[in-house]
Amino acid sequence: MSNGTMTDDLHASATATGGGALPRVSLGIVVGLIGLGAGAVVPTYFASDFMLRLGSEGLLLGLLALSVAFLMNQAGLVALGAASIYGGAGYLFAIGMSDWGLTPTAALCVAFLILLAYSAMLGALIVRTNPLAFMMLTLAAGEMISHAVLLEGLRDYTGGADGLVVRTTGTVLGIDAVRFADPAQFWSLAWVVTVLVGLAFWAIARSRLGAVLRAIRENEERMRFSGFNTFLPRLIGYVVVNIAAAIAGFLHVLNAGFVSPESLGLFVSTNTLVAALIGGISGSLGPILGGLIFSFAQDEFGARGAHAASDRCCDRRVHCRVPAWCRRRAVGPVEAARLAAGGILTCSRSKSCR
């Protein structure tokens, strides 16, 4: 992004009214709502429980991938600690109910607030660093959390290496807890939440915050000289993506009824990254698709007796092909489709592809 484009982007985001595109926006909203409803309902009629479970896992991974991709694309930062928030949400929710005697809704709210405070504190410490150091620090912070749950002193709370069984009764935020365990109903819920989070990220990317984040990514020094606070937007961005990771974690623990140290592990973080790279990082749809593709691909390989190989094949395909995709200005199937459409939807070249 050139400096001129950057300024235009900021100016446009600050002065946009959107009044002239009303019919197109209305049509988009209608199509979006139809898509949202169809996606939530149609698969529950045609797909088996197993496929729905697999799809739900894919959606949750997509939600995590979305958080990683947003930070990569908007701020040029790679977070390798997504699993610590994802798994941490499950642990805090379980501890809140079993040890603190809270109702499911209260446990969810308390866990969310703790994660918010943790994200803000960690973010305040690490968003000032350069992207490479940020990547290393998020990895270290994630490993710290995964070590913490295994501490002997916390075993009564965390269950050590065995993890925790989470028995949710009653309602959670007004939703009957039983619905979370039903594959069809959980698919619908996960679909709606994922789409809404995707839309939220899409809106943030087009807001002033998104424009400022991209401008900081391009030239932080220039932004500082221009009088912009470069710390706060990145901190907000980091906290926002952790909120998405926490939502994924809450949904996972409510669905699975179990949380273990594996959910905090580095493999969850790397799988998230791979899913984001499979789908592409420059939009909201790509990472979600990436999560679904990853989930089904992993099962496909697993069914053929090469479960572990599937992850690695995805890793190899993605990590070794990213540079080539970037050269062709495409990072994933969504971008490839856009390019195939003959430039009707232009693929904005992300910073990570330069």
């Binding site: 660093t129 350069n130 290393m136 710290m144 501490l151 002997e152 690695r312 990590h319 540079p323 330069r354």
Partner: protein, 298 residues
């Protein structure tokens, strides 16, 4: 009745033991993190696959030690891993020379995961143990303190290789070129320094060091599938504490890390696993650029 200075002697012995154990752990970490810092200094790349290369060294060391003994492993593994380093340079680093740091870091992370999985595929998931050679087994008494010979060997090897590295960087022409390229690549190229050849040398040296560390870790720690993640995370903490790209900082940070880790396991056994991370946070709060004032802050 105990003598009056017995408690003092006990304390001194405990401190000496603490320092010796810290040095033993730090020796391994110095070999790994200095290699990591070397590549970063020259290529501006954090090699996330370094832990997997160390693990490869450990498993190759285990295999060769079974056939030809520990000394043969210590001789062959660095050579084999230097070749792996050359392949890594040609297949991963050079094609990605013009790509962003993050992209290259992701590629090295992916390659590290692949390498780790290949090792697990061939060796399985269980931990292996390597016996120390006869000459290095047993203990010696130093200052009324019984201490394993192998750990002393580890300290001597680690600190010796660290000294050799420092001497090479300080007193040889190629070391001078490495420092020049890491400070200003474009000016160094204009002065006629072949940065690609230097990069090849540094990458192979870095992976050879990782190989030595892997072989030495066999009898000291254990050879297991999780060793790559543990070590790469530790090394990343050290590199950040030391200041990315600063070899001196990495060495000091490794010594500090070793001491904190060992002291933590003695005085705070319940929190030992978290002590390095607490150290990292404290250092970042006090000196965000790290001890060596590296390029951590943007």
């Amino acid at each position: 009745m105990p003598s009056r200075n017995a408690p003092g002697q006990e304390t001194a012995a405990m401190i000496a033991l603490l320092i010796a154990n810290s040095l033993a752990l730090a020796s391994l970490l110095i070999m790994l993190s200095s290699g990591l810092a070397l590549i970063y200094g020259l290529r501006d790349v954090i090699n996330f696959g370094h832990g997997a290369i160390y693990m490869l060294g450990a498993y190759l060391g285990y295999t060769i030690a079974l056939v030809g003994g520990f000394w043969l492993a210590l001789l062959l593994v660095p050579i084999l891993l230097a070749i792996v380093g050359i392949a890594f340079e040609y297949l991963a680093l050079r094609p990605l020379q013009r790509r962003s740091h993050i992209e290259v870091a992701l590629v090295t992370l992916g390659l590290g995961i692949i390498l780790g999985q290949i090792i697990i595929y061939f060796y399985g998931g269980e931990a292996r143990s390597v016996d120390a050679p006869k000459i290095l087994s047993g203990s010696v008494t130093i200052l009324h303190l019984s201490y394993p010979v192998y750990r002393l060997f580890l300290i001597v090897t680690g600190l010796g290789s660290c000294a050799l590295l420092a001497l090479w960087l300080r007193w040889t022409a190629s070391g001078l070129y490495v420092r020049a390229v890491s400070q200003d690549p474009s000016v160094a190229r204009m002065m006629g320094i072949n940065a690609d050849r230097l990069s090849l040398l540094v990458t192979s040296l870095s992976t050879a060091f990782a190989g030595i560390a892997g072989v030495l870790a066999g009898p000291y720690l254990s050879v297991d599938p999780g060793m790559d993640v543990v070590m790469i995370v530790n090394c990343l903490i050290i590199v950040v504490i030391g200041g990315t790209g600063s070899i001196g900082g990495a060495i000091i940070a490794a010594l500090l890390f070793g001491f904190v880790q060992v002291a933590g396991s003695v005085f705070l056994p319940n929190l030992a696993a978290l002590v390095p991370y607490i150290l990292l946070m404290v250092v970042l709060l006090i000196a965000p650029g790290g001890i060596g004032r590296g390029r951590v802050l943007s």
